[in-house]
Point group: C2
Chain length 530, copies 2
Amino acid sequence: MSDTLTLPEAETDNAPRTRRSAGGREAKRAARSARVVQSAPYITRKIPYFEVLNEEGLATIERNANTILEEIGIDFRDDAEALDIWRKAGAEITGERVRFPGGMCRAIVQASAPREFTQYARNPAHNVVIGGKNTVFAPSYGSPFVRDLDKGRRYATLHDFQNFVKLAYTANAIHHSGGTICEPVDLPVNKRHFDMVYAHMKYSDKPFMGSVTKPERAQDTVEMAARLFGDNFVDPATGKNRTVCISLINANSPMTFDDTMLGAAKVYARANQATIITPFILAGAMSPVTVAGTCAQTLAEALAGMAFVQLVNPGAPVVLGSFASSVSMQSGAPTFGTPEPALVLYVMAALARRLGVPFRSGGGLCGSKIADAQAASESANTMLPTCLGGVNFVLHTAGWLEGGLSMGYEKFIMDCDQAGMMHTLLAGVDMSENGQAMDAIREVGPGKHFLGCAHTQANFETAFYRSPITDNNSFEQWEAEGGVDLSVRANALWKKQLAEYEAPPLDAAADEAVLDYVNRRKASFADSNI
Amino acid sequence: MSDTLTLPEAETDNAPRTRRSAGGREAKRAARSARVVQSAPYITRKIPYFEVLNEEGLATIERNANTILEEIGIDFRDDAEALDIWRKAGAEITGERVRFPGGMCRAIVQASAPREFTQYARNPAHNVVIGGKNTVFAPSYGSPFVRDLDKGRRYATLHDFQNFVKLAYTANAIHHSGGTICEPVDLPVNKRHFDMVYAHMKYSDKPFMGSVTKPERAQDTVEMAARLFGDNFVDPATGKNRTVCISLINANSPMTFDDTMLGAAKVYARANQATIITPFILAGAMSPVTVAGTCAQTLAEALAGMAFVQLVNPGAPVVLGSFASSVSMQSGAPTFGTPEPALVLYVMAALARRLGVPFRSGGGLCGSKIADAQAASESANTMLPTCLGGVNFVLHTAGWLEGGLSMGYEKFIMDCDQAGMMHTLLAGVDMSENGQAMDAIREVGPGKHFLGCAHTQANFETAFYRSPITDNNSFEQWEAEGGVDLSVRANALWKKQLAEYEAPPLDAAADEAVLDYVNRRKASFADSNI
């Protein structure tokens, strides 16, 4: 992957907090940084986008989205302030239904939403730029269950959550620590966000996501982040908060936002933290059964949500999200990795580019319960469109099983391998003299082989993507080694990575400040599972 | 898949031979035709091609290919006639090395090679048009072994070969019967081509491939085809043979053609049968370790081979083939489904379009020994580029395992499912009024669901691609049904399809004529395994 290394913008004004330890720990740290440096903080694509619709098709969908916004409208439920904000902006309000005359949502978004933005990590080498030609890979999000080959499927715990934070930190191909990687169901519902957010802060130095399940949990996330970043939280040049977390605001499709999501969105927008406005759509249930219909509805919902964020705080980073799959017309079950969602993804990516905002979609989605061939096909049929279509923020890159109900340890490792390949794919074709390799062809000539030629010798270290888990040995060797499938090799690798994990250094004062906030807040109200 | 149905050109001059049976058999046949009609004879894409290189990059690779042809040259080995043909055409000959001044190969190909051509099937509903915006899926080719879940890996037999012909005939998503699907090693090497070609003729009515392992075996293929097609073999309008078979001519990369392949190519070209000129390249061994270098060499080799075919018989259908993967720089083993071969594929597809000839590449390639997640990822990472890049003739669509050493029964079924999805993907986005579905969105409105709305009711039959083998049930239901992986469901399906297989009707006189030729030829020389 060395040819795909993307250096972050110079961040001299945002250096990590001074570190005080020395000696043997310093040497260890140097070794760690050396390893971490190999990891690209994010991908900047060098290949074109794949487009499935022409100008006319895209313009038709934009027109239909506008019709939905103008004629049908979007419900903003149980949030009087939201309705008030819309009324002042000139929208037409009937009960909780908001209608948007004359393309106002698009105009609002285009007036202030940034085309791309930096999400800061506590280690500036891991800052990511979301938007433009960049792709950021984050782990899967939201599973109540975890699964591994040893113990099968079970409810997730904080220990699992921490394990996945560590695995994502260790994975070169994963740029982001993610959010609710899995639900730590061993903790009370009203306090588990503290432990999740703290795990991201403590066990990783990659950027992370915040809590959205109540507005006050969003506020807790912001408070913890402010303490973690300390003096670096506010940009002295602008006096505004730096964007240090990104959070997932789902629409209740069709055409509805609820007070929980609106509340969290307001907290984050006011703190200049990024939100991803995502219509969560299983086509056939939450949208029409067609690609064009699903795209128009997704765009309308996302426009309304993004415009709302811009009204709350003009310029707050916002991402157009699309989670679209379909339901089986036979059983009603959600399906993944089929061609229709891939078409939706290509169309939505193009629409986000035309609008001029970053785009979130895709990942390694599958319906399979286990990390078998079904899981792998479905994931590849989602991940490749994700990369070719031009997704900027890829939630669910690694670990996803069972329509998101389960987070798989082996699946996580397999998906990281796929994400690694995407770095090479998105780097495109090297057209340098060395890439053209005419000297090699001249040197070798007809009927010979290239294995020992000077060009191969000079390039073999970086020549091809190397998978850590695929088996390309002979049948005989593979059989002698146990004749196992990919998941068994992935099982060995996640255990090795956890065993070798070393936490990134964390400034003790910042750690203390975060923990102090968490402990005071935890003590201030009773545990509850609501 | 009904929305992707592509009707073949009207073929009134090429009707199937009159059939004489009636009554109950007629009714059965009608039922069969009804089933067969559902199958698209090939795909005509409605989405754009994905391109990774711009004009400048493609022109550079074309220039480099020309440099290889002019300065380095191509070896044509052990075939004095071939050298003579090149000498007369104006090439420079030194020993067996042929050099091609002033872009002569490109000029020869563009002067007479057809941009697209029809390969006729004995059932005209299964004729395929190879080239242009069309994609034709054929089974895998060339494995000495077969594998299934019940009996594991073993040498292939004629029985296996016949099974795969039947499975390919049954598969709606497979358009072509293929060639040496697996090697029937229970038959003598010098006679097994008779049984393979006959199996394609007898157990399927889809188009097929010919033998290439000796020039006389190519001639046997042509003779058998002439008897199968009878009066329909020659086009009365042109007096030329119709193209009824297509055959695989591999270059011995780097930059070498041998007498076996040249001999077969001459037989097929003179009979106006199609050939696929394919540099078979594992980058790092048979070509440089870079994408651009591999592409330039592939183009040079293919241009020399295609120009040779055009010199033998101007206008004979010829396909630019590219089989490119890479070798592990650690073990020397071939690898599949990695990003570099996908980049080669995208580039070669664009180069074939610029040249103006049909393109063959891709398929469901993998290095895995079994139909596990590795096989599925690698296959998807080859098949999706195959379709997005614009491959016209897809050899190895279904069954490939273990770098082509083994043909998998379960893998075949899984790959057919993937090929089925590609029909939907390549059909693109339906932008009709029904596709836009604005009435559905108006009918349902905010906060409701689309499951019962009129638009969903009207479209649910064809709304989404339906996989026959993926499991999208709940975890509990999946577990209650045994908790099995995809390969177990695929195992059940191939057995069902073989059990339900019914041979397509074959004119008795044609069958007799073919068998008479085969029996006379088989008796005319001794069995041999050379």
